[in-house]
Structure formats: structure tokens, C-alpha cells
């Protein structure tokens, strides 16, 4: 259903994404890994059409996406929700309003200017929040929430779009292990229960292994690995991260168990 054909993005001399090509034929949960600067964010941004591709094509259900303009492009964006590392909410507005931003594409500009949304949308927004376990926060300002809660609001906004694809750009990078787990669990549940495709940039191997059905590894803009999580050996990981023999997975780990352990050590010491 989603097909990338040598998708390329150049910034001046620099090629951030270099002829990325892959096909996804059914909704799955896909993790993209690679070290900082590998081109993961750029790839997702092209998919959401936040930025234009320099070359190549994106096809979704046979339709060419990368050349859409204006209203058509926005319509695509509304079907392809995006979640950001820094949540990218409107901090001064309340949680429900933030979730309702997911409906902007469908609503008339005029009504939304005055913050007028139909009641059914408001109810739906609160139900989605409830599904993510943060319904009580509904009337609060987004900025008053913790990081993990804000990220769940962002997910709620994405769900509000009722999208076919959810893109998540390092959704847990600025969260502590506890919240990271909650957020990843939520994404996985959405994938499983709603059958939506989820593509997530992740910077830790074990998260990718644990939550994804398929892992794509990028290095210097090129896709250097594409396979099942179990194919992702330490050797392959070294290739992706370009690390030497001293590469230790634990250094990038955010799993709770490992850290809990060291915490305990601290307390016991």
C-alpha cells in the first residue's frame, strides 16, 4: 500500500536522504533506526509532505503523493498523522483544543478561527484521551502536562485525524524510561487495535526490536538494513551505527529494567 521509489532529499551539496526505496504491503509497525544525522527525520517529513522531495516518488495505494499541491497535499497530511520528538503542541491551549487540531483539515477555516468545533468532535476527542488514559487532563493547558502526557496528547491529536498512517519522529527521545514505555505501548496498541500503519524513528535498538514488525536501518541517508527485528544482530547494528568494536547496546538503551537496576544500585550503595 505504501511504496517509496528512490526518494531523495538534498540540502545544497548534502544528500540527507539518498534514493530510499522500500515497499510496505500491509499495515505494520515499522521502526527506522540510525544514528543522528542519518536522515530519519528528513524521510518522515517527506512522507508527511512537510518538506518536498528532491527526487523520487511516494505512492500510497497507487496514488502519487510526492507531487501533491495545495488542498490535495493538505488532505494527504490529514490522512498521514505525524508525532514529533518535542510533541509540537500548542502549549498555551488546553488539551482538548490541541486534540481537536487533528480535525482542522475537515473543518471550515471560518469556524475554526473562533475555536468553534462541533460537539461530537469534542466528545470524540475526550474519548480518545480516555483511551490513552489522560482524560482527566482534558481541560488543562498542554504546557501544564508532563512530557509523557504531552506526547500522549500528540498521539491523541494524530488519532483525531483518523489517519491511515501514523508517523512518529523519535516519539520517546525526550521522555524518561517510564513514560517512554507508556507511549510506545500506546502506539503499538493503536497499531494492533485500529490496524493503522505506524512508522517510528527510534534511536534505540531494543525499542525497535521490542515493538516493531519490521526495522529499517539508515546510515548517511541510505537504507542499509531492512528486515525483521530478529535479523538485527549486534554486527548489523554496528554497521548501521558505524560504531567500532567498543559498541555497547546498553549505552543507548532506554528500557526500564536496565536502568532500574542501576537506580537500585544507587539506592543500595
Amino acid at each position: 500500500m505504501l511504496e517509496l521509489k528512490s526518494l531523495t532529499k538534498r540540502f545544497g551539496d548534502k544528500t540527507a536522504v539518498d534514493a530510499a526505496t522500500f515497499t510496505v504491503d500491509r499495515p505494520m509497525m515499522i521502526g527506522i533506526i540510525g544514528r543522528s544525522g542519518a536522515g530519519k527525520s528528513t524521510l518522515l517529513r517527506m512522507l508527511n509532505r512537510l518538506s518536498d522531495a528532491s527526487d523520487g516518488e511516494i505512492l500510497f495505494e497507487g496514488r502519487e503523493i510526492s507531487s501533491l499541491k495545495g488542498a490535495a497535499r493538505r488532505e494527504w497530511q490529514s490522512r498521514c498523522a505525524m508525532i514529533f520528538q518535542q510533541f509540537n503542541l500548542v502549549p498555551r491551549m488546553d488539551v482538548v483544543s490541541n486534540v481537536l487540531h487533528g480535525t482542522l483539515n475537515r473543518r471550515s477555516t471560518f469556524a475554526t478561527m473562533f475555536n468553534l468545533y462541533p460537539q461530537e468532535d469534542i466528545h470524540k476527542a475526550i474519548e480518545i484521551l480516555d483511551r490513552l488514559g489522560i482524560a482527566e487532563q482534558a481541560p488543562k493547558r498542554a504546557e501544564a502536562l508532563s512530557g509523557g502526557q504531552q506526547q500522549r496528547v500528540a498521539i491523541a491529536r494524530a488519532l483525531m485525524q483518523d489517519p491511515s498512517i501514523i508517523l512518529a519522529d523519535e516519539p520517546i527521545a525526550s521522555l524518561d524510561p517510564m513514560n517512554a514505555q507508556i507511549v510506545m505501548d500506546a502506539l503499538r496498541r493503536i497499531h494492533e487495535e485500529d490496524g493503522r500503519m505506524v512508522i517510528a524513528n527510534l534511536h534505540t535498538l531494543d525499542t525497535a526490536r521490542r515493538y516493531c514488525d519490521r526495522v529499517i536501518g539508515m546510515r548517511d541517508g541510505r537504507i542499509v538494513f531492512d528486515g525483521r527485528p530478529d535479523q538485527l544482530t549486534t554486527g548489523v547494528a554496528r554497521d548501521i551505527y558505524g560504531a567500532g568494536a567498543d559498541f555497547s547496546e546498553a549505552a543507548t538503551s532506554t528500557a526500564i529494567e536496565t536502568l532500574d537496576q542501576s537506580n537500585e544500585n544507587l539506592v543500595l550503595a
Partner: protein, 293 residues
């Protein structure tokens, strides 16, 4: 099983109540928002009507004439464009006077504002009990329009730059004093306490403990004030306190025949204001950025 449905029902209930209370909140917000907007619009519209009504000419009648006066000035200035450079040179001393008034009053006002701000900031004040006194006096200094002081002083000191200078300095002291004390309130008190513990006196504590912290912000505000004061000194000239503004008013009031002078003075004044505006905004950016860096 029953447990599960019960839990689900309970869940449903809480969601319902959240939805209801949120909807109520939204209704309230829409109501208040709508009311505020309505009041604002009513105030604006009726205010405009009152102003329009009490004005000699109506807004809509006059709109098409808006360019008449500038057109006359420009036409004459263009006709006599050859004289412009000479006129600019002729009025240059008046410009210097205007800038001097602004500079002196900014310096004096900033110095007074600096002391007032320290005296009226909690945690720094020399005499904490007198804080309200200093605050009120700054409020008053800020509230008196410069023109009032200048016009009154003219009777005592006669015309010339000094009344204008004093008037602007007083206002500057009040205005900067307030801004300065807002900055000083956020100053870190640890160094001050550290100095106090060595037996330093109040002025030493302020000089070493507070000023280095607040200097960039103070300087940036003072620059902004300087720019405002150039304007103010031109305006005071307008009502008879010397400098470029006075020349400009004379030329404009005289009407045709001296519009070339008006144009020359205007070019000087406008150029000066823009010049200092640019300089000060550049330095201010540098100062505040340098601090964040």
C-alpha cells in the same frame, strides 16, 4: 465478568462527566470570549463615532484629501530642491541641540533611574521601609507629561534647551526606574549576600554585586530611551523649547514659501530618528544576545 462491565460502566461515567464539564467550560469560554469581543467592538465603534462626531471634518469626507498637504510640501520642496543641501547645513546646529538635549537627559535620567530602581527593589533597597515612597515618586515622575514640566519651567528659566532637558530627564528617571527595577527584581541575590558577609557597604554591594548582572539589560533599556528621547526633545521643540522641532513647526506653520525649509528639517529629523533607531536596535540585540549566550 460483572466486575468488568461495572468497571466499564464506571469508566463511561467518568468520561461522560469529563465531557460534560468540558462542554460547560467551552460554553462559558465562548460566552465570555463573545462578550469580551462584543464589548470591545462596541467600544471601538462607538468610540470612533464619538471622535468622528466631535471632529471638525468627518473621517470619510476627509479621507480623499489626506495627501493634499504633503503634496503641497513636496511640490514646493521639489521646485526648490537645489536649496535643500544649504538648508540642511543651516539647520544642522538645531539638530545638534536636539540630540544634546536627548543625550544629557538620558544620561541624567538613567543615573537617577538607576539609583531609584535599586532603592525601590525588594531585597536590594537601602531603606526597605521607603520602597513605597520611591515607587510612588517614580510613578509620578513617569506620569507627568514632559510638556507640562517644560512649559512651567520656561517661566522660571526662560526658553532654551534647559527646561526641555530637565523635563525629559525627570520623565526618563521615572520610566527607566520602573524598567530597571523590574530587571533588578530578577537579579541573583547570592553575590549580594556574599559581599554583605564580608562587611561591604550598600553602595559596594550594589556596584559589585548587582550592577554587573543587570548592566546589559540596563544599557539596552537606556539606549531604547535615548531613541525615544530624541523624539521627545523634537516634540518639545514643537511647543517652544528650542531645537529642531521648533524650527520645523515654524516652517510648517508659515505655509507656502517655507515648505522647502520644512522639507529640509523634516529630512534631518527623520534621518536622525531612523539612524539612532537602527543603531540602538542593533546594539540592543547584541547586548541581550550576548547575555543569553
Amino acid at each position: 465478568m460483572t466486575d468488568a462491565t461495572l468497571a466499564a460502566a464506571q469508566q463511561r461515567q467518568t468520561v461522560d462527566s469529563i465531557q460534560n464539564s468540558y462542554m460547560a467550560q467551552v460554553q462559558r469560554r465562548r460566552l465570555y470570549g463573545g462578550l469580551t469581543l462584543l464589548i470591545f467592538v462596541v467600544l471601538m465603534v462607538s468610540g470612533f463615532n464619538v471622535a468622528d462626531d466631535r471632529n471638525a471634518g468627518g473621517f470619510w469626507d476627509g479621507l480623499h484629501q489626506i495627501g493634499d498637504y504633503p503634496a503641497e510640501v513636496l511640490a514646493e520642496a521639489w521646485e526648490k530642491r537645489a536649496d535643500l543641501p544649504a538648508l540642511i547645513v543651516e539647520f544642522f546646529p538645531a539638530l545638534v541641540e536636539t540630540i544634546n538635549i536627548a543625550a544629557v537627559s538620558t544620561l541624567i535620567g538613567a543615573a537617577a533611574g538607576l539609583i531609584l530602581s535599586l532603592l525601590s527593589t525588594r531585597g536590594l533597597a537601602r531603606w526597605p521601609r521607603l520602597i513605597p515612597v520611591f515607587r510612588r515618586s517614580m510613578d509620578i515622575m513617569r506620569a507627568v507629561p514632559e510638556i507640562v514640566i517644560a512649559l512651567v519651567l520656561i517661566f522660571v528659566l526662560a526658553g532654551g534647551p534647559v527646561p526641555a532637558m530637565i523635563a525629559i530627564a525627570i520623565h526618563t528617571a521615572g520610566a527607566l526606574g520602573k524598567m530597571f527595577s523590574e530587571v533588578a527584581e530578577n537579579a541573583d541575590l547570592k553575590p549580594v549576600e556574599g559581599l554583605a558577609s564580608t562587611g561591604a557597604n550598600w553602595s559596594q554591594r550594589m556596584w559589585l554585586g548587582v550592577l554587573p548582572q543587570v548592566a546589559p539589560n540596563y544599557l539596552s533599556y537606556a539606549l531604547l530611551r535615548f531613541e525615544i528621547n530624541i523624539r521627545a526633545s523634537a516634540i518639545l521643540g514643537f511647543v517652544g523649547a528650542g531645537g529642531l522641532g521648533y524650527e520645523l513647526r515654524n516652517a510648517m506653520a508659515w505655509g507656502p514659501g517655507r515648505f522647502d525649509e520644512a522639507a529640509a528639517i523634516f529630512i534631518l529629523l527623520f534621518g536622525t530618528i531612523v539612524f539612532f533607531d537602527q543603531i540602538s536596535s542593533r546594539y540592543r540585540n547584541r547586548l541581550t544576545e550576548g547575555q543569553n549566550a
